[in-house]
Amino acid sequence: MSTNPRSGTIQEINGPIVTIQLPGARNGEQVKIGELGLVGEVIALDGEEAIVQAYESTEGLRPGEPAEGLGWPLSVELGPGLLGGIFDGIQRPLEQIFLRAGDHIPRGLTLPSLDRERSWHFVPDPELEIGAELVTGMRLGTVQETDTIEHRILVPPDRFGDLLELAPEGEYRLEQPIGRVRTPDGRTRKLKLYHRWPVRTPRPFRRRDHGIAPLITGQRILDTFFPLMKGSKGAIPGPFGAGKTMVQQQIARWSNADIVVYVGCGERGNELVDVLESFPKLQDPYTGRNLMERTLLVANTSNMPVVAREASVYVGLTIAEYYRDQGYDVLVLADSTSRWAEALREVSGRLGQMPVEEGYPAYLASRLAAVYERAGRVETGGCGNGSVTLVGAVSPPGGDFSEPVTAHTKEIIQTFWALSKDLADARHYPAVDWVGSFSEHVHTAAEWWHREVDRDWENKRGSALALLARDAELSRIVNLVGPEALSSAQRWELEGAALIKEGVLQQSALDPVDSFASPEKQFLLLNLMLTIYHKGAELIELGVPVQELMTLPMLTRARRAKQTYNSRQTDKLREMLEEIVLEFEQVRLEYAKFEEHAR
């Protein structure tokens, strides 16, 4: 793959697109552009000219300046030291850049992505013997990367063969060899703690596997109503102000993934800072450690060069696949895939390609599908099963879900968490719309819920959704003729739906008790609201006036239960359920007495 650098000359500069006279260039090849040495990538060839997209601003660049084809495609460094870091769209370490260059990102600055000075405590795999046959993805040893994550040093995809030498336990820097291998072509090659991989090529694995467990996010509307399996793909579309970023951050905080890769793609700088500043102070609900230890950020904010935005998603996914290959469940959050698609559109527009819908190029759908297809649960080369779950935010212009990016995404993903402006305006958060959302995994997830939480999960979920559907129907009538036109039973249905909405669906990200709900708490709350509804409906059948039920103080208590008891206090929720059943019994008895009296 690597050839000697070839030199060329800049012909034309049109924004981020630079045309370079560069004979022998290859599509996808990295190019150093101009005297500043900007980084770019060949995206098309035309005779001896290479069309190059620059990852950095081309201001000040002149025709006639030199350029250099580097001979390799856009690649990332994979090794210990990634976690807790923040990288730009082409994996440059932003914290180091800040220390080196100050507030703004200078151009033409190349720093290694991983710290070369830091040494790591390497423990070779005890079962590995000299002469053993190394297979891609096999474990060479481990390094404790953070307190929670053990980094497994793998045989790189291009270095399999016979193990000639493996270093003893000890401290090693990234560039120090930890072993040697003889590859099938007879060459002896060094093994190090890190290796490089081209981002546009999915990393190899043994075979694909089914998802077996849902990703638990601690968010009731997501887990209970529209589950997403580990190794699957989901999308969060929503107009601005509907809370996409908030939902994504909640998922990043509370999900039970081992590693979270947060790709800020064309979004606000302050949102990434929010993650950088708040995560180290937050506790992982599963390990009790600070959340930044399992998180890494890839940041290409909206004001950073648009071409690197396109690359950032691939960089995030490649890093995720690398941890997947170590046997971890990795979650990738891409906020937002619309900005990624717009980067494609901008480049295709500058190349004068024929636009199809809303200016997007014809290859939008296939590129989107290829990106989402990198999610999956797989059997790895040597670390058991691992998975990459991909959740992409979508920002449809004007909140119109029929626009190309949302429409194409909808065809690819399996879980669709649609955000609604109306709900957000009414401050119903998370503003996930139960009518427009769907999950293709309800049955698969049910197996897990029935085994781990309660055998009635799928039933309860179904009756809650049915109640919400009735509510929508009845609300239409109310909006036309007023609530007086409804029967008592119908008005109680409205109240039941309101209980589900306020007591279960609405969840405050800002309330420390409510922010995360364990699956058990989720189920108990749902059960609580449904029980109130069903018990009430029975009483109404007996003739108890609906007004009497509506003023029961327990309704307010039930609505506040989510904030009153945390996920460890499930016994309190169970007690509450019992008390409420008793209270209803009391109402029934009193009413019977009253009836008798009246007779």
């Binding site: 034309e12 500069i13 660049l61 923040i86 990102i105 559109r345 636009p355 212009p397 009414a426």
Partner: protein
């Protein structure tokens, strides 16, 4: 300066010049153009190849000919001079004086296109700015370093609101106000005049830099103006340690100018003819606001965007909303009812409010009070809709209470005088006055402690 002159203009239209036989011109460089009468215009290279350069002419291409037009490549990017002397001055869109005073002379010259702030260099904005306006402070609080636009419509009092924010904005515990960078893009003479007089009468004029492009000034200049203004703001904030409030009105005119030029260039249009890069272009402007680690100063940005036909889904407000940290939306309906400021709270939002309010910043009940007011007002809108169909008399007692609440909210909480500067405590007390119309158990979003402390039923 190794400037080179050419008289090889091959085409001139739509604010764009093509100059032939000009090798090695740098992308983004500044250009001077001299027309047949010897008058000077300014331009910038926006595409360059070994044989020709495409130039954006800020003063437009009207009255240019191909034979006698001289083009001079200045061999430097579009830069402006920066010094503390900026304050109190008035400039045009490319930083030339508009106030008959000499140009700024300084060693500090910076390219107006700026470079992206390293996300790792930012700090999260979290200091509450009191604007004295209840609907903003109470429900959509602005914090230092935020970008919060006003979404408005033609004929609505967005400029009066922006001026009131400039007059009243201050931090809770600091007396020192903000330095103001005011950018006028394609506004009428009277609007620009209004701001100038308002700054003068409130005595802040010496603390304001104005960049003015009026409705009858060349539209292409509007493409440079926000960048010039923000370069000045960055200098004041991060070199001079000042807190800078940038007001831009009206960014819709900026986007229109961008469309005009992109169409002339032949760019592939996306929605409504706006170029596909409108989002990135606006983001390059808006993302220059913020706070930076270990720097004292800050840039808070309040752009005004008038929504064409009051349509919030129009590409300009839509893309703006995706970039900014919330939006303040003005309503024609409220305006017609005589409510000032006509801020419609339901579509309004401040994304950074959560970290700037509460116990240590404003008052402990603030977040919950805001959430409760929103819930009640949203519910009240349903009652209003119902009342408009079946009549208010037919409503249940519960709905009538919501209706009365919404009316009182619009009248007492939203409405306030143009000179009325309410403290956040006054705003919150006013909120409790309205909340106290409801019994305790109807207020599920405030805590029991809040009710005991602030609900009027609990007070003697």
């Amino acid at each position: 300066m190794s400037a080179r002159e050419y008289r090889t203009v091959a085409s001139a239209r739509g604010g764009l010049l093509v100059v032939k036989q000009v090798p090695r011109v740098a992308f983004g460089d500044r250009v001077m153009i001299r027309d047949h009468r010897g008058r000077q215009r300014n331009g910038q290279v926006i595409r360059t190849s070994r044989s020709e350069a495409l130039i954006l002419v800020f003063e437009g291409t009207d009255d240019l000919d191909l034979e006698t037009t001289w083009v001079r490549f200045m061999d430097e990017p579009l830069e402006i001079s920066l010094s503390p002397e900026l304050l109190g001055r008035v400039f045009n869109g490319i930083g030339e004086p508009r106030d008959d005073r000499p140009p700024i002379v300084s060693n500090v010259r910076r390219s107006v296109s700026g470079s992206a702030i390293n996300p790792a260099a930012r700090t999260y904005p979290r200091e509450f700015i009191q604007t004295g306006i209840s609907t903003i402070d109470g429900l959509n609080a602005l914090v230092r370093g935020q970008k919060l636009p006003i979404f408005s419509g033609s004929g609505l009092p967005h400029n009066r609101l922006a001026a009131q924010i400039v007059r009243q904005a201050r931090l809770m515990d600091e007396e020192s106000g903000f330095s103001v960078v005011f950018a006028a893009l394609g506004v009428s003479y009277s609007d620009a005049r209004f701001f100038e007089e308002d700054f003068a009468s409130s005595g802040v004029l010496g603390n304001v830099v104005m960049y003015i492009n009026l409705a009858d000034d060349p539209p292409v200049e509007r493409l440079a103006l926000p960048r010039v203004a923000l370069t000045a703001a960055e200098y004041l904030a991060f070199d001079m340690d000042r807190h800078v409030l940038v007001v831009m009105t009206d960014m819709t005119n900026y986007a229109e100018a961008l469309r005009e030029v992109s169409t002339a260039k032949g760019d592939v249009p996306s929605r409504k003819g706006y170029p596909g890069y409108l989002y990135s272009d606006l983001a390059e402007i808006y993302e220059r606001s913020g706070r930076i680690r270990d720097r004292h100063g800050s840039i808070t940005l309040v752009p005004v965007v008038t929504m064409p036909s009051d349509d919030i889904t129009h590409p300009i407000p839509d893309l703006t909303g995706y970039i900014t940290e919330g939006q303040i939306v003005l309503s024609r309906e409220l305006h017609n009812q005589g409510v000032y400021p006509p801020i419609h709270i339901l579509p309004s939002l401040s994304r950074l409010m959560k970290d700037g309010i509460g116990k240590d910043d404003t008052r402990e009940d603030h977040p919950r009070v805001a959430s409760q007011l929103y819930a009640l007002y949203a519910r009240a809108q349903e009652a209003r809709n119902l009342a408009s169909i079946i009549g208010a008399e037919e409503l249940s007692e519960r709905d009538r209470r919501y209706l009365a609440f919404a009316d009182a909210f619009d009248r007492q909480f939203v409405s306030q005088g143009e000179d009325e500067d309410r403290s956040i405590i006054e705003t919150l007390n006013l909120a409790w006055e309205l909340l106290s119309r409801f019994p305790n158990d109807a207020l599920s979003r405030v805590s029991e402690t809040d009710i005991a402390k602030y609900h009027h039923s609990g007070k003697k």
